[in-house]
Symmetry: C2
Subunit: 335 residues, 2 copies
DNA sequence: GTGAAAGCGCTAACAC
DNA sequence: GTGTTAGCGCTTTCAC
């Protein structure tokens, strides 16, 4: 293992050592043509001897390519990133980036400061591409979608369809979940929605409505949550007081389902005996609730992977199609 | 909101527009002294008019400062990053970086490829500093600790004490947990350890031993796990067959505790009636197991925050002291 | 196949 | 205070 605390070795030094011009050395490094075999080898030897590593900054300046992409997560709440969801996305993204020379920059834009930074980033090509996950607000998203830097979205904003995105089939998943409730013979099926200013929130609500419409059932038992456990509790309490006859609930996130479950139990309703519930996301905790939660799984790592792939494709001048990843029902004891 | 799809505006253009020299403009941008008020204002106006944003790459090349730090997580298993733990660390790190001009780069070094990249990074000053979390192996860590780039460690390697680190008090937490079991009147207290090639694994084991030594109890009932749920199940089964008399288990991670809990239940041992257990990490699921898990909480976001702060301090030439963050016992029904 | 030379956009001496 | 100048380390025409 070579000594790490050595100062930067420049291309000039390599060239000198190899007895060639700097341009020749450069050609070898970037394995470009027009170099004699002899020189090529001489340079390669010099590179090894000196432990040369190209200076990425200088290269970036010369080529006008940053050699980095950014994963930007814009939200009004710094804590959302603590959601394991993003960790999984990152793993997926990383798995494809690892095959390339691209660095990954992470931009958690919560404050206005972060937002500004994101805008500047978009404008100044400090990154060769951006993967954007926005949990709220469409204006930044529209802005990003218009930037001349390649941008792919993870998930879709509410009122706006980006040119390039990969999303989970939230609507389909919600339909699946609700249909499952119907299949189980439930007829008074309520829902607790997520935040309706997020794409996932509205899509899951639509899926619920569709499934009930098809089944010819009433889709009027709805309470709005915010994806959080507490929000789920509140919404469940509301539902219970306004629609005490409900016999099932489709809940737009497992976190909310956990909150709702507690309220149901406290109210003396057995699950799934009196009320069947299904959640969404398939978080680890969903396996450990009592009873374990039926839920909808989405392929999160795949989402990250496909975002990165789509970005690559975009960066190499292609025009990829948007992608919707399938979700699937995980059946457990709560239904 | 300004149009984003505009090409790069250079400092020269700003200078020309303001009718000053480039150096004057540069001074204003970096609010350095020696500029008359008039010119300063002229430049500021030009900046706004033109929508000038400095080119970070060029600046980095000129100043020899990357303007970015990296969070490197080196592990032999790509999946470890999916652990919510890291998401929390990132939130902490980001909260302090957000106050600065520094970008955050994420380096998940799993493959050899990633390792190489990390080494190069260390060597070429592509980043002004690195925060390093290594889950295994000490050689890379020692290498990093010797690099001339500021490096702070999150957690400590097993056989090696870095110069700058912030760590949770794993040993103290384990002692706390074990003492709690002692206080509950348990006398045949076993342990399931984590991976013993990770600092957290060995430290928690030491804490267990210490507590039992102080209490004058036998610390011989031990099985080794790997922090995973399955590993916990296996280890618990082993413990049950080799030390069927045990009446408590300190388990070095909640994930393992969940696995162990299932095995205990399946074996007909009631928790905490027959066997009391306590876990470590305070993951969300720990609240939803049956019974809910007593566990040790560590301040993960604070860990991230302090790593970033320590790095900043290091980068500004100071010599910070290592930091150990307190852990605390969260008492629930499993004891 | 080869090298000289001109940048990439910025900062930092230095002389005025 | 101010502007001129020389780089930072690399890539890339362009003529040979």
């Amino acid at each position: 293992m070579t000594d790490i605390s050595r100062r930067q070795v420049t291309l000039d030094e390599v060239a000198e050592r190899a007895g060639v011009s700097r341009s020749a050395a450069s050609r070898v490094i970037n394995n470009a043509p027009h170099v004699s075999k002899a020189k090529r080898e001489a340079v390669q030897r010099a590179v090894v001897d000196l432990g040369y590593v190209p200076n990425a900054t200088a290269r970036a300046l010369a080529t006008q390519q940053a050699g980095a992409v950014v994963l930007a997560i814009s939200s009004d709440n710094p804590q959302v990133f603590a959601d394991p969801f993003f960790a999984e996305v990152v793993v997926g993204v990383n798995s494809v980036l690892e095959e390339t020379e691209l660095e990954l920059m992470l931009l958690l834009a919560t404050s206005t400061r972060g937002q500004t930074r994101l805008e500047q980033l978009l404008r100044t090509r400090q990154a060769d591409g951006v993967m954007m996950m926005s949990t709220h607000g469409d204006t930044l998203a529209e802005l990003a979608d218009k930037a001349d830097v390649p941008v792919v979205f993870g998930g879709r904003p509410v009122n706006f369809e980006p040119r390039f995105y990969v999303d989970a089939d939230n609507r389909g998943g919600a339909r699946l979940a609700t249909e499952h409730l119907v299949d189980k013979g439930r007829t008074r099926i309520a829902t607790i929605t997520g935040r309706m200013d997020e794409g996932a929130g509205t899509a899951r609500f639509k899926g619920y409505q569709e499934a009930l419409a098809v089944a010819g059932l009433d889709a009027g038992r709805v309470a709005h949550g915010d994806f959080s456990e507490d929000g789920g509790s509140r919404a469940m309490a509301e539902l219970l007081s306004e629609h005490p006859d409900l016999d099932a609930v489709f809940i737009a996130s497992d976190q909310m389902a956990i909150g709702a479950l507690r309220v149901l139990t406290d109210a003396g309703r057995s699950v799934p005996g009196d009320v069947a519930i299904v959640g969404f996301n398939d978080i680890p905790s969903a396996r450990h609730t009592a009873p374990p939660l039926t839920t909808v799984n989405q392929p999160i790592q795949a989402l990250g992977r496909e975002m990165a792939r789509m970005l690559q494709s975009l960066m190499s001048g292609e025009t990829p199609s948007p992608l919707i990843l399938p979700t699937r029902l995980i059946q457990r004891a709560s239904t």
